[in-house]
């Protein structure tokens, strides 16, 4: 058996153990079900309407991924532009910072007026939360490249484009990935908050319905879905980081 399989088994064992402790604690200590229901009750809720949870998971995942991808692309682009044009950086970065001080709840109310109850509207909120950290960290990473290395490449006759793609961006990757791991969580938050503005499908919708109907089991079921999605996405980004920044990512 290889190392990855053993690690996966360990993880599975941990999850099962945590589930057993949960179940035993609720039964053993007599915790009232509206504070913490038994795990088995929550799993039963999944079994009753698996379609609703699956559809919600898919919808929220799509919103998160689209927003995250757009936020990453725009963030890296912004970082490069600001790095190349310090004047533009001085002009626009403060505007970006101000934009980030708008509470996402207020922003969400605007987005639903602009784009309606579309998948796109949620992706916009996820994008809004993702692009800023990526911009800042890209800029930070690009600025931290050793100027002597740049001078060396330039002395070999490398063009600015070659320097950017062969030296500066690869050297900035560890910093960018710090922002991407942050963005993985933030974009999920953005998508879920976006779903609180009147929609039919999504983890956020299930959360809201459960919360306002005081249906604690459904609330926990939605929380587990969000946790699954969040952990999965974070793990995916961390895995990509280990693969891409093989020379020394922050673990």
């Amino acid at each position: 058996m290889n190392a990855a399989a053993i690690a996966a088994l360990r993880l599975l064992g941990g999850v099962i153990l945590a589930g057993l402790v949960w179940e035993a604690a609720v039964v053993g200590f007599g915790i009232r079900p509206h504070l913490l229901p038994r795990l088995s009750e929550i799993l039963a809720a999944f079994a009753v309407t698996p379609g609703a949870y699956w559809a919600g998971l898919q919808r929220t995942a799509a919103e998160t991924l689209i927003g995250f991808a757009a936020g990453t692309a725009v963030g890296i682009m912004n970082g490069v532009i600001f790095f190349r044009a310090p004047l533009l950086r001085d002009m626009l970065l403060p505007v970006f910072i101000v934009s980030q001080t708008i509470p996402v709840i207020a922003f969400g109310a605007l987005v639903v007026m602009w784009f309606g109850n579309t998948l796109f509207a949620k992706a916009v909120i996820a994008f809004y939360l993702t692009f800023f950290p990526v911009t800042v960290n890209t800029l930070l990473g690009l600025n931290s490249v050793d100027p002597r290395q740049v001078a060396l490449l330039r002395s070999f006759g490398a063009s600015p484009r070659q320097i950017l793609f062969r030296l500066q961006l690869p050297m900035a990757l560890p910093q960018i990935f710090v922002a991407l791991r942050l963005g993985a969580s933030l974009s999920l938050v953005g998508a879920i908050v976006g779903e609180w503005f009147g929609d039919n499908t999504g983890i956020g919708v299930l959360l809201l319905q459960a919360m306002y109907n005081e249906s604690v089991v459904a609330l926990w079921a939605a929380i587990l879905c969000a946790a699954l999605l969040g952990t999965g996405f974070y793990a995916l980004v961390a895995w990509a980081e280990r693969r891409i920044v093989f020379w020394g990512a922050e673990q």
Partner: protein, 340 residues
């Protein structure tokens, strides 16, 4: 025609159809008008009639291609309708329509769904509160969006003033009341009251009903923008006709109504939704709706609510109620079609 031509033709025909299909619509669909309805809250049986009408095609038959958008805690239906983001709205009620009109939002109420105050104030049957006078010195939680003034008005009749009791904003959960941390809780008849029944028991609850103390607050108002009301009155009447058809079906067959809602929101609790539809139905057929049909705008009742708000300085100046509440869209429909 050789084989190549036949092949080309067999490919070309579906291709041409596919390309042209956005421009070719089935007969009868040409007159459909796209519109959206923004609900005041999350999908639940309180709105069953709208979902029945949608799923049975009543809006289509009225020439409307309707999308139902649920509401939520962060949305104000009046804003979305006034801004044109949504065509129709089922908004908070007379109170939120007053507030919107006072702020100058160009919205018009075209129908009223709940003819009676949908919320009550609940105390424990085995507790010290037997009459309104017993609220003295007690802790009450309520919503500070209008219900607080209804309570103040009721208690004023019992001779109690603001300083005689503690009034706190009510959070999402009714659990503080269940845990006896507060003495009186506010509950909509169809929603919170169900949670209270299931956690405390129906027989252990004592309700104080605003309507029994002369304060009636019609809620759940159908609103459109002034522009829609002015330019497209047939659209508004058609919407109301289809909506009433949906509600007649939902009230006659509660299972159908709950099924329609749960097909959209399958994780809801069915017993709660069944209870909700029954209770919401009672509010819909009460008062003026008994003689004039569903969604009737009972102008004297609205006027009384307006005057009550004015006395309590919730609204600062009298409003033009004739402009804010327009019955003409309902009156365009035969009375027989409006009856529940």
């Amino acid at each position: 025609m050789n084989r190549r031509h036949i092949l080309a033709a067999s490919l070309a025909v579906p291709l041409a159809t596919a390309l042209a299909s956005p421009f070719i619509r089935p007969a009868g669909a040409q007159t459909l008008v796209r519109a959206s309805l923004r609900l005041k809250w999350l999908t639940q049986a309180q709105f069953a009639g709208f979902y029945v009408a949608l799923q049975k095609g009543y809006y289509r038959e009225a020439g409307i291609d309707l999308t139902i958008n649920p509401g939520g805690p962060n949305l104000l239906t009046e804003n979305l309708v006034a801004s044109g983001a949504d065509t129709f709205g089922l908004s908070g009620g007379t109170d939120s329509v007053f507030a919107a009109r006072e702020r100058g939002l160009p919205i018009v109420c075209a129908g009223v769904m709940h003819q009676q105050t949908p919320f009550v104030f609940v105390a424990r049957a085995d507790g010290p509160i037997r009459t309104l006078a017993d609220f003295r010195g007690k802790t009450i939680t309520t919503w500070f969006t209008g219900a607080n003034f209804v309570l103040l008005g009721m208690l004023a009749q019992a001779g109690l003033n603001r300083g005689d009791f503690t009034m706190q904003p009510q959070q999402v959960s009714v659990q503080p009341f269940v845990d006896r941390q507060v003495d009186v809780v506010t509950a909509t008849r169809y929603n919170e009251f169900f949670t209270l029944m299931s956690r405390v028991g129906r027989e252990n609850l004592r309700s104080f009903v605003p309507d029994e103390h002369g304060i009636t607050f019609p809620r759940d108002t159908v609103i459109v923008s002034e522009q829609t009301a002015r330019d497209r009155p047939q659209l508004v009447s058609g919407f109301l006709r289809a909506t009433i058809r949906g509600w007649r079906d939902a009230l006659a067959d509660n299972k159908l109504g709950v099924d329609s809602v749960m097909s959209v929101a399958p994780t809801l609790n069915r017993p709660h939704q069944e209870f909700m539809l029954v209770e919401a139905g009672k509010l819909m057929v009460a008062g003026g709706a008994a003689q004039n049909g569903l969604f009737w705008i009972d102008h004297p009742v609205i006027q009384a609510a307006h005057d009550f708000f004015l006395r309590n300085e919730v609204i600062k100046a009298p409003l033009d109620l004739a402009a804010a509440y327009n019955s003409s869209f309902l009156e365009a429909l035969p009375v027989a079609d409006r009856m529940a």
